[in-house]
């Protein structure tokens, strides 16, 4: 998360904090906060509607978001963590209640004349709003926020948002006014923040979690892989109570969305963060600095348009140029820009085939596979274990980036290095598509020093899910989910004394595996990354 916004956030944050006091670290760290909270909501939805994975609607290819259809969150994450006594999380606090309060306090901040400098009202006081009954006032406020967000989005020239917004509305309608769903803070925010609409429908189904409250002893609370212990510094908090009161709800919402992988992928995170900041500036435009705020909003819009939307178009078209007739293109996980490039090449009539390699637990490639297949491309979908076999057919490998490091290395979704290495050893060119805002002056030699740890529980197969349960080894779905739960090998891993799970998010691909980096400034060898980074940051400084 910190890496996602690192390339621009330093400059940008200075501008923002002049107007509103945002603790700089919280802006960055918000992604690590409260993963468990959203899971409570997700569960609620999962109970309400059991969506099959095959029925998951595709994300619009043009929109700057990558929705993880199945975050495959932990089987036993909710109850244990709520029960676990952590300093920030009094066990009695219920997640749903908190989030609703988040939603409710937003209008209040809007009304304050001094802007966001004044901390929003602390929710712990006595907001006795029940989880089930959302007040009409709160609903109205959510609508208002939504409208505002829509207006903000129409300013962008991207074609995606409007379409996608319509989709979102439809989805809301289909839910038949389920109060619980509208309670979720993303109901109002997501359109503004990330244009994630279908995320609510695509959350994982973990019905058994509620039915089988696992009993977990508090002494097995901390399990670390010792080599990666330093990455665990930002403990995932389990409720909103520890949050600094000065953090704007829009930022909190963003954190929740990121932690639940509703906003997934670096560009999506970047855009969502910028839009969240914009929402903060939206508040109280009549303050003396109103002009400055308007300017800041314009700057945000311009930044997104120039550095992301337009850059993507340029990159997609020049990457599409590189795809010729008869090519077999391999890509790993999901990158929006690679998707655009493939669609671009297909639309201009190039005949080629796509192989998508995917991995657990995020399954980002599923989205890409469906989107491309829907568009008419010929798609083959496999997991990393099939890589060494399918690589024989491949003529080009296209990869997205989380960041390009200054030593020419690529920092991207974990597993990318494996794909790049396999391609290199088969003499297949590896092409990275990357906007120049993702270039960073940082130098990493390995994936250990800087990385992001996701919850190890995500690695545990959620076998009670009827879809996942039908495997070759277990061909019949279990009669009841509760009886199936103990049968999975890893579900009780916290009780196993010698067992650790490691769920890394990123890895570093050596520069020698990369043949070419396509940016909006043209195609470069990876060794030219620092030069372009210097060029583009000089421009950005002038820009901001």
């Amino acid at each position: 998360m910190a890496n996602a916004i690192a390339p621009f956030s330093t400059n940008f944050r200075i501008g923002i904090t002049n107007f509103f006091w945002i603790p700089p670290h919280d802006v960055i760290k918000i992604g690590f906060v409260y993963p468990e909270l959203t899971r409570v909501e997700n569960q609620a939805q999962a109970v309400a509607e059991t969506t099959e994975p095959s029925a998951i609607p595709m994300a619009d290819p043009s929109m700057p978001t990558e929705v993880a259809p199945e975050p495959s969150a932990p089987v036993s994450s909710v109850n244990p963590t709520v029960n676990t006594p952590t300093p920030q999380a009094p066990p009695e606090v219920k997640g749903g209640k908190k989030t609703q309060q988040t939603n409710k306090k937003e209008p209040k901040t809007k009304d304050t004349k001094e802007g966001a400098g004044k901390p929003p009202k602390q929710p712990q006081g006595g907001d006795a709003v029940k989880e089930s009954g959302l007040s009409a006032k709160a609903l109205k406020e959510a609508k208002k926020a939504e409208k505002q967000a829509r207006r903000a989005q129409e300013k962008q020239t991207a074609p995606g948002p409007t379409q996608q917004h319509a989709q979102g509305k439809k989805a809301d309608g289909a839910k038949g006014g389920n109060q619980k769903e509208q309670l979720a803070p993303k109901g109002g925010h997501k359109r503004a923040g990330s244009t994630v609409t279908e995320a609510q429908r695509t959350v994982p189904i973990r019905t058994s979690n509620q039915q089988t409250p696992t009993v977990i002893e508090p002494q097995v609370e901390h399990k670390h892989v010792s080599l990666f212990r330093h990455l665990d510094g930002h403990a995932r908090r389990t409720s909103l109570s520890g949050a600094a009161s000065s953090i704007h709800p829009a930022v909190l919402t963003l954190g929740l969305q990121m932690s639940s992988y509703e906003i997934c992928g670096s560009t999506a995170r970047c855009v969502a963060t910028l839009l969240a900041f914009k929402r903060i500036t939206d508040i109280d435009i009549d303050t003396p600095e109103s002009e400055a705020k308007a300017e800041l909003c314009d700057a945000v819009d311009n930044f997104i348009r120039e550095k992301i939307t337009l850059a993507d178009k340029v990159i997609a078209s020049s990457a599409g140029d590189k795809i010729g007739n008869g090519d077999v293109v391999l890509t790993y996980a999901k990158s929006r820009i690679v998707q655009q490039a493939l669609v671009d090449a297909y639309d201009r009539g190039t005949k080629f085939r796509v192989i998508i390699i995917d991995s657990r637990p995020l399954f980002e490639g599923r989205n890409l596979a469906r989107a491309l297949a829907d568009h008419g491309l010929e798609v083959q979908y496999s997991f990393t274990h099939a890589l060494s076999y399918v690589i024989k057919d491949v003529t080009k490998v296209f990869l997205g980036a989380h960041a390009m490091l200054s030593n020419g290395r690529l920092y991207s979704r974990v597993g990318t290095a494996l794909v790049a290495m396999t391609a290199k050893s088969n003499d297949i060119p590896v092409i990275v598509c990357c906007e120049s805002i993702k270039f960073t002056e940082r130098v990493n030699l390995d994936s250990i020093v800087t990385n992001e740890l996701a919850s190890p529980d995500e690695l545990v197969l959620s076998s009670p899910d009827p879809q996942a349960a039908i495997t070759p080894s277990n061909p019949t779905p279990p009669a009841t989910p509760s009886t199936a739960a103990p049968s999975t090998g890893l579900s009780n891993w916290r009780q196993q004394p010698n067992l650790n799970l490691l769920n890394l998010m990123y890895d570093v691909t050596p520069a020698e595996y990369i043949k070419m980096v396509i940016t909006e400034f043209g195609s470069l060898p990876p060794s030219s990354v620092p030069v372009v980074h210097r060029m583009s940051t000089e421009k950005a400084e002038r820009f901001i």
Binding site: K322, K396, P429, A511, M516, S523, P525, S527
Partner: protein, 358 residues
């Protein structure tokens, strides 16, 4: 637009078509007249000549004319990679000149002076580009030390100039003693003959080997120096077919491989592999014996029937149907083919030499 050659010659349409055809002729004439001229410089000179003759009175007209004629020139030359380096450079230069503050892009009355400025600067550029070879030779001769054996190929004039300069070092007598192994490839070797003759005249011992003997000779070689048609963005270079394999053999033997090229040969291209070049090459041509027979009978028929007594094929008499088709570039055969020599980023030996010599 070019379909109707019968329109009276005073119409601008015909003038443009005529001029477009003349630029190809000018380009070829320049290359024939001056054996020292490189392709990018010839292209730039042809464009300068075109601008001098044109009656374009606005900037956009000028740029448009430039773009059209560049496109025309590129499509009529079999291997436009080297040439495009020159035309791109000239186009960038002109746009840069026009955008300069004080360039007076708005004042129509001022256009004449801008045009004159452009023309004179263009000629200045051409004369400077011609001097580049001598500069490179002066830089590069220091690489050739006493007692070394240099392997080279092709008819690169920069390499020739460098080796001659190295032979002359120390004043006439040639105190630097080195030997040259010259690799002959293919059948078209008039240029190679000239290089070999010139070096032998200067007292440099030259051995001539075939391409098959490169690996055999590599053990006796101290360094490889080659010329380039174009230097591409990823640090690789495009050169006469056979250069790539010399580079691979040199790397396998751990011998330094130097490329000498003028900076106007830098091309905006990023080839991923040999087959990613923007030209068509008939190097690998699969055939069965049936194909060969068919071809032979087709050739025989052509000889039998006199040209006047048969209906000309569309490809032969293109001017009847489409003036654009006349002199259209054919795909490169083996003789004119090029290959792409990859730079190895780890050692970056070649790239460093590149930076120094150009």
């Amino acid at each position: 637009m070019f379909f109707v050659p019968l329109i009276s010659s005073s119409t601008p349409v015909f003038l443009l078509a005529d001029r477009l055809n003349s630029i190809v002729a000018t380009y070829r004439r320049l290359l024939d007249d001056d054996p020292d001229l490189t392709m990018p410089v010839a292209a730039i000179e042809a464009l300068v000549e075109l601008l001098a003759q044109s009656h374009a009175s606005t900037i956009s007209e000028t740029l448009d004319l430039l773009a059209t004629s560049t496109q025309h020139l590129k499509s009529h030359i079999p291997n436009p990679i080297s040439l495009s380096a020159g035309t791109d450079l000239f186009q960038r230069y002109i746009i840069h000149q026009l955008q300069r503050p004080g360039g007076g892009a708005h004042a129509a009355s001022d256009f004449q002076s801008i045009r004159n400025h452009l023309l004179s600067n263009g000629r200045l550029f051409v004369s400077r580009a011609k001097q580049a070879r001598e500069k490179i030779a002066a830089f590069g001769k220091g690489f050739v030390r006493d007692g070394t054996t240099v392997l080279t190929n092709g008819g690169s004039r920069v390499v020739g100039a460098l080796l001659e300069r190295a032979a002359e070092t120390g004043g006439g007598g040639g105190s630097v003693r080195f030997r040259v192994i010259y690799v002959f490839g293919g059948s078209k070797n008039t240029e190679g003959d000239a290089v070999v003759r010139a070096l032998r005249e200067k007292g440099v011992p030259v051995a001539v080997i075939g391409e098959g003997a490169v690996g055999y000779a590599m053990g006796k070689v101290d360094m490889v120096i080659v010329g380039a048609e174009g230097v591409v963005e990823n640090g690789g270079m495009i050169s006469r077919l056979g250069t790539y394999q010399i580079g691979l053999l040199a790397r396998a033997a751990g011998k330094p491989f130097y490329v000498v090229a003028e900076s106007h040969k830098f091309v905006r291209l990023y080839p991923l592999s040999q087959y990613d070049l923007p030209i068509e090459q008939k190097v690998i041509d699969f055939k069965t014996s049936a194909d060969e027979e068919e071809e032979a009978t087709a050739n025989a028929k052509e000889v039998d029937v006199a040209f006047a007594e048969r209906t000309p094929r569309a490809s032969e008499r293109m001017e009847y149907f489409n003036r654009e088709g006349r002199g259209k570039a054919e795909a490169n055969g083996v003789e004119d083919a090029v290959d792409f020599t990859v730079s190895v980023p780890v050692t970056s030996e070649g790239r460093r030499a590149n930076g120094q010599t150009s």
